[in-house]
């Protein structure tokens, strides 16, 4: 309806992902920034951006199980690790003289399989959530991270072992190598740009699928399980099924994210999938906004780019950072800030970045009136 953008005459338009024109414009601006950014920033920042895009996929996954279905999971790092090593084993190139599992298969096989194997692990773990909730579930999933760390350190055929590591999956899609410099449509792209765009496409597709999921029958069932599990059951939602589904879908996202996560740095460290990684993802969800797909993406960028920002700020300080922070490293400051940020967001902005966005939006909606 021209001239009446707020008027819907079909239910399909009213329940669209982006019902209003303004939202479409904002999405367009966001995508444009993401497409242009890799041509502007330097290589180090580009690596961070690529990591952020991949992290967004993982954050969406965690938000599905924790934000939407309400099952607190501290085990996300484990599923990321499962995805990373599954992809490396299936898609890695066999090397002479090394006894690593590497089947050398194409990305269109290794990437979905990495997700599926992680999802399978999620299904195995999910029954715990049928018995436990809240803190108790968090503690059990926390145990998963330690279990994973132990396996990753000691299964040397898969991971290369502690201090050795291995290369992640080779990014070869139908023979096209994303992990080398190349050119697409006549535009020369360096390795990092190629990986970035691959990740961006995966992220956009996965975000769209997640958005569809949460506005559907399944997404409503997740939210029902989170808000009132007894009422959900009386309305016909099978608790067992939906808790298992939530873990499976979430782990699938983690698996895909894990498969791509370290491809840009080109090195998989068995120690990487630790508790701190899990907490970083929880931070993405909490700071971005629980039960929001856009929030997950914002949170992933925020948390991934945070260390860079902190470092720049410290370097920009007029005092000598080396003498000031002799006993604390930048990494430690980062961790402290994570904690502080989570607490601050939980107290002042429980809806996260998404909540801040809503507030800004509502302010301008009412402008120039105050109320």
């Amino acid at each position: 309806m021209r001239g009446r953008p707020g008027l819907f005459t079909r239910y399909e338009d009213a329940s669209a992902i982006l019902p209003s024109g303004t939202q479409k414009v904002w999405l367009g601006i966001g995508l444009a920034v993401l497409v242009i950014a890799p041509f502007i920033v330097d290589r180090a920042t580009l690596i961070l951006l690529a990591t952020a895009v991949v992290a967004a996929v993982g954050a969406i996954g965690l938000n599905l199980v924790t934000g939407y279905a309400g099952q607190v999971s501290l085990g996300h790092a484990f599923f990321l690790g499962v995805g990373a090593y599954s992809a490396a084993a299936i898609g890695g190139q066999p090397e002479e003289g090394k006894e690593l599992i590497a089947l050398g298969l194409d990305l269109w096989i290794s990437l979905p399989l990495a997700g599926l194997i992680a999802a399978l692990c999620g299904i195995v773990v999910a029954p715990v959530a049928l018995r436990l909730r809240g803190l108790y579930l968090a503690l059990v999933t926390l145990g998963l991270v330690f279990l994973g760390e132990h396996i990753f350190r000691n299964w040397t055929q898969l991971t290369g072992g502690q201090g050795v590591g291995r290369e992640p999956a080779t990014l070869s899609l139908f023979g096209y190598r994303f992990d080398l410099d190349g050119s697409v449509l006549g535009i020369d792209l360096i390795r990092e740009q190629q990986i970035y765009f691959l990740a961006l496409v995966v992220m956009v597709v996965m975000a769209l699928l997640a958005k569809n999921l949460v506005r559907s029958r399944v997404g409503r069932a997740f939210a029902a399980v989170r808000d009132r599990d007894i009422a959900a059951e009386v309305m016909g939602v099978n608790l067992t099924k939906y808790k298992v589904l939530a873990f499976a879908v979430s782990s699938f996202y983690a698996g895909v994210a894990g498969a791509l996560l370290y491809t840009v740095t080109g090195f998989l460290d068995p120690n990487a999938f630790n508790l701190f990684l899990s907490i970083a993802y929880i931070a993405m969800v909490v700071i971005g906004g629980a039960a929001s797909i856009a929030g997950s993406i914002a949170g992933a960028f925020f948390i991934t780019l945070l260390p860079e920002v902190i470092e720049n700020v410290i370097h920009a300080l007029p005092i000598d950072a080396e003498t000031l922070f002799t006993s604390i490293s930048t990494a430690q400051i980062e961790r402290i800030l994570f904690g502080v940020l989570i607490i601050v967001f939980l107290i002042f902005e429980p809806l996260g970045l998404y909540g801040i966005w809503i507030r800004i939006r509502n302010y301008w909606k009412a402008f120039p009136f105050s109320y």
């Binding site: 239910y11 329940s15 569809n212 409503r220 069932a221 989170r226 808000d227 007894i230 009386v234």
Partner: protein, 284 residues
């Protein structure tokens, strides 16, 4: 202003109701106890189509326990519950819901972080069957089912006069409106039997009037069996076809509202023995 609806409830919810012969629900001699406390002690009754069956009794008499037993939240130790001709004792709540039973709760049990629309759409959960993958792709069957669910939900929103609150989060809404949303969510299931646990509790006169009107409309337009637990005796006596009075988990009277109102045991249970004696003394 008179609100005119486009569609009758039976057009919005054509699947509601049942074709089963005989009573929709048959409860026979159920006993439920929690570690020595007898919550239900030998209650039997049956509800048929088009019947509004009310259960009354003082606080703690076991009314909500009966509801929880019927809908599968509790499992009585003895007795039998047959719904639509099938034994449902020990069945899981979602399984019983699938057979066509819907309920509302005494203390509102809405999904607080969902909108009114989503709460009612959730009531359509069992009437759709697309899974994770087709939901994610949002094409064909899933899209069609979602749009149909939306249409049904809008019909219910119109019936319950919830239009202004469609997109509001239920946690923000007034109590009376939340009660209506809960009724809408239960209706969306297109049930054959509807359990209403104190639908008018905590409501003011106008809201109670509205709720009574909705219940009467549901009965007239859908013709489904309903069980009502309610403390507002005027509502019960006006609406119910049959009333069961219980006290301490035991049935004390069963009959039409007129009969129940005059039953001395019911008066005693509600007013207490002493008061009853004083009252008798006063009328002499």
């Amino acid at each position: 202003m008179d609100v005119v609806r486009d569609r009758l409830l039976s057009e919005v919810l054509p699947e509601a109701g049942t074709s089963v012969e005989g009573p929709v629900l048959e409860v026979k001699d159920i006993h439920l106890s929690f570690a020595g406390v007898k919550a239900i002690d030998g209650v039997s009754f049956q509800v048929s189509n088009h019947e509004l069956f009310a259960i009354i009794g003082p606080n703690g008499a076991g009314k909500t326990s009966i509801f929880n037993s019927i809908s599968g939240v509790y499992e009585p130790q003895e007795g039998s519950i047959r719904f639509m001709g099938k034994d449902i004792l020990g069945g899981k709540p979602d399984h019983i819901a699938r057979m066509g039973m819907a309920r509302t709760f005494q203390n509102i049990e809405l999904f607080a972080n969902l909108t009114v629309l989503d709460n009612i759409m959730l009531g359509r959960h069992l009437r759709m069957n697309h899974g994770v993958l087709s939901s994610m792709v949002w094409l064909g069957k899933a899209r069609k089912a979602e749009m149909h669910a939306r249409e049904v939900a809008e019909g219910i929103i119109q019936f319950l006069e919830l239009e202004p609150f469609r997109k509001s989060y239920v946690a923000m809404l007034p109590y009376g409106v939340q009660k209506r949303v809960e009724l809408g969510r239960a209706l969306a299931m297109s049930p054959s039997l509807l359990l209403l646990d104190e639908p008018a509790a905590g409501m003011n006169t106008e809201e109670t009037e509205d709720m009574a009107r909705f219940i009467m409309d549901i009965k007239r337009e859908l013709g489904i069996g309903m069980i009502l637990v309610e403390h507002d005796m005027r509502v019960v006596m006006d609406l119910a076809d049959t009333v069961l009075a219980i006290d301490f988990g035991k049935p004390i009277a069963l009959g039409t509202p007129d009969v129940i109102q005059r039953n001395p045991d019911v008066i005693r249970a509600y007013l207490g023995q002493d008061h009853a004696v004083v009252e008798t003394g006063g009328t002499e």
